[in-house]
């Protein structure tokens, strides 16, 4: 944890911006460069900055859930939409479309959560050494 007023003030502004931007990147990944992985990284960096400014404990309180549970949920969200093809007798992971919206978006959201969960779990473990 860094005791810096500039960083703390900056992070207060940066965190919501980065979260918004990460969701934008995730959404953009549907048809253009971007996607769950990059978006997840940006989101995780936002929270990591928060941990740097206010400490891991504050980050954990803000998250409310264990990062590893986020990881597991993401994995589930990634796996489950693949089964939707079963209703039309197609193999696993065949994309199902409802207009322009399809299961690949759900898969991307899963990837996003897996990346956020994994990176935050690492950040939490590595920074806890110094803090507690």
């Amino acid at each position: 944890m860094m005791d810096s007023l500039i960083l703390r003030t900056g992070v207060r502004l940066l965190l919501p911006l980065m979260l918004l931007f990460s969701v934008f990147i995730l959404w953009r990944g549907h048809n253009e460069p971007g996607g769950g992985f990059v978006g997840g990284l940006i989101c995780a960096v936002g929270f990591a900055l928060h941990a740097l400014a206010f400490g891991v404990k504050a980050m954990r309180e803000m998250l409310k859930v264990d990062p590893r549970s986020i990881l597991g949920t993401g994995l589930l969200i990634g796996i489950l939409p693949g089964f939707l093809g079963a209703f039309s007798g197609e193999p696993y992971m065949t994309a199902q479309w409802l207009g322009a919206l399809g299961t690949p978006v759900l898969f991307d959201i899963g990837v996003y959560l897996v990346v956020v969960g994994a990176i935050l779990a690492m950040v939490q473990t590595l920074m806890a050494e110094g803090d507690e």
């Binding site: 549970s69 990881l71 597991g72 589930l76 193999p91 696993y92």
Partner: protein
């Protein structure tokens, strides 16, 4: 329905792992999930094998992307057999882990990561795409790094560093080989490769790439010049992890060798299979000598893992249908026995107070006569005593070797067997007959009933498998025969994946002695 069954060996453990991670804070829920998931995998493995044997090779194209472009999952007799046996080991070890894994390791995530490991193993068995195979190897390796260092003891970290380093090199080799092969042929689908590789104009390039594959998979399988990491690492993690590593991980390397060198690199067999033959021979001898030199039960078993890898690769190197069948049979036998031996060594260590050094062992017949009886099954099977599974495996290999006139290899195999009997005799004397150095530290009866039950049941189950293979070998020999046939003549595999009969290039082993096809 069959398409879903083919994908299920990957989906079930992955789903289980995800659920276990969601339940990160609740170890009890994780235990139940891990056990149920492993049981489901056994059921799926059994039905997949019976369907493959009944109806032929099962193929599913992920996401409906057509064959050479998308990723195909293929269950041929070898894949299905390996998945069933891996699932059985997964179940036994998951059961053993209920009694064996301490709360610290459980909080560290043993159960979800174990399921990720099973995902990687099953994925490697079922994939029909070379790059995808690389990915499953990575999944398997990364989870094995975690399992190896979980617990954080000094010797574990030491072992983990060696293991990570050697595997990085092996992975780099594999990636390089895959990239080169893609550059030469423009495809990564294994069935497509088996059609295109013989048509490549410069065959020496293919031979060079084949050697890279031997190096990459040889490191994973612990073949002769690349085996040194195995005895240095396998004795350090918790018993459940040791057992699943010894039972499955190196065999995935052997499986990959068998797959690649029966399906893709079948042109220059004199060169590639010649190299494999030499490596197999030296691996057997070095492994068994190492196991005799060790003064510690766990280390001796680690060396034995190396020795018997040599026997399986010998079957691959001879490459007749009988030899390939023998390799498959031997692999099944060896996976069961090695898992059993490491679980048994764990129980012995528990009783000897945390060490399996020969000096600390002894008097097992007095303190736990039933355990002795249980341990005799894998020991006898390892040595190849007649009614047990090891005998039939060796018999098939010797038959195949004599038929193909590889007398030196047969001699080495028999010598290895003889030295293994010596080792088993010595272990029995040290462990069972010798008077103990000090009274047993911890007998199983002092544990809560459920826990000792969870510890011992897997041994009983595995011993039952060994005995039933031994007493009724025809069924497994029949299955192995089908495996051998399907590996020798791969046209059915290619047809199943690509949907057409690629007539111009022969894909049978050794059928390309005339050089490059047009």
């Amino acid at each position: 329905m069959n398409a879903w069954l083919t994908a299920a060996p990957i989906l079930i453990p992955m789903f289980t792992a995800a659920l276990c991670m969601v339940a990160w804070k609740y170890p009890v829920a994780q235990r139940v999930l891990s056990l149920l998931g492993s049981l489901a995998l056994v059921i799926v493995g059994g039905s997949l094998l019976s369907i493959v044997l009944d109806q032929g090779i099962q193929v599913v194209q992920m996401g409906s992307w057509a064959a050479p472009f998308g990723i195909s999952l293929v269950a041929d007799p070898l894949s299905a057999l390996m998945i069933l046996i891996a699932a059985l080991m997964g179940f036994c070890v998951a059961l053993h882990a209920l009694g064996d894994i301490d709360p610290v390791r459980e909080r560290g995530g043993h159960h979800p990561i174990f399921q990720v490991l099973m995902t990687g193993v099953c994925g490697a068995f079922v994939t029909g795409d070379l790059f995808n195979l690389y990915v499953w190897f990575e999944v398997m390796l990364i989870s094995s790094f975690v399992l190896l260092s979980l617990g954080g003891l000094r010797e574990q970290i030491d072992a983990a560093i060696k293991y990570v380093c050697i595997n990085m090199v092996a992975t780099a080799c594999l990636l390089l080989a895959v990239a080169l092969l893609y550059g030469v042929t423009g495809t990564l689908n294994m069935a497509d490769l088996s059609v295109r590789v013989p048509a490549v104009p410069s065959q020496p390039v293919i031979s060079a790439i084949a050697v890279l594959f031997i190096i990459a998979f040889g490191m994973k399988a612990a073949l002769f010049p690349f085996f040194f990491w195995l005895p240095a690492t396998y004795h350090t993690p918790s018993v459940s992890v040791q057992a699943i590593f010894a039972g499955l991980l190196t065999k995935v390397g052997v499986y990959a060798l068998i797959r690649v060198f029966t399906l893709i690199f079948t042109g220059d067999t004199e060169w590639t299979h010649g190299i494999l033959m030499v490596m197999a021979g030296i691996t057997m001898i070095v492994g068994v000598l190492g196991s005799l030199a060790a003064r510690d039960l766990n280390r001796a078993w680690s060396w034995q893992v190396v020795a018997h890898i040599g026997s399986m690769v010998m079957g691959l190197a001879i490459a007749t249908p009988l030899a390939l069948a023998a390799a498959a049979f031997y692999m099944v036998h060896d996976i069961v026995v090695k898992t059993n031996l490491f679980l048994g060594a764990g129980l012995v260590r528990r009783m000897a107070g945390g060490s399996t050094d020969y000096a600390r062992l002894g008097g097992l017949f007095k303190s736990a006569p039933w355990l002795c009886l249980l341990l005799f099954v894998p020991l006898g099977s390892l040595a190849g005593f007649p009614p047990l599974s090891g005998f039939w495996g060796k018999l098939l290999l010797v038959r195949a070797g004599l038929d193909a006139q590889h007398y030196v290899m047969v001699g080495l195999l028999l010598l290895t067997g003889l030295l293994t009997i010596w080792l088993v005799g010595r272990v029995w004397a040290e462990m069972v007959w010798k008077a103990p150095a000090e009274p047993p530290a911890d007998t199983l009866s002092s544990l809560p009933f459920a826990r000792s039950y969870a510890l011992v049941m897997p041994l009983l189950l595995l011993s039952l498998i060994t005995v039933s293979i031994g007493l009724q070998p025809e069924r497994l020999i029949n299955v192995a025969g089908q495996v051998g046939e399907s590996l020798y003549d791969t046209s059915a595999y290619v047809q199943a994946v690509l949907g057409t009969t690629p007539a111009p290039q022969p894909t049978q082993l050794g059928a390309l002695e005339t050089g490059a096809a047009p």
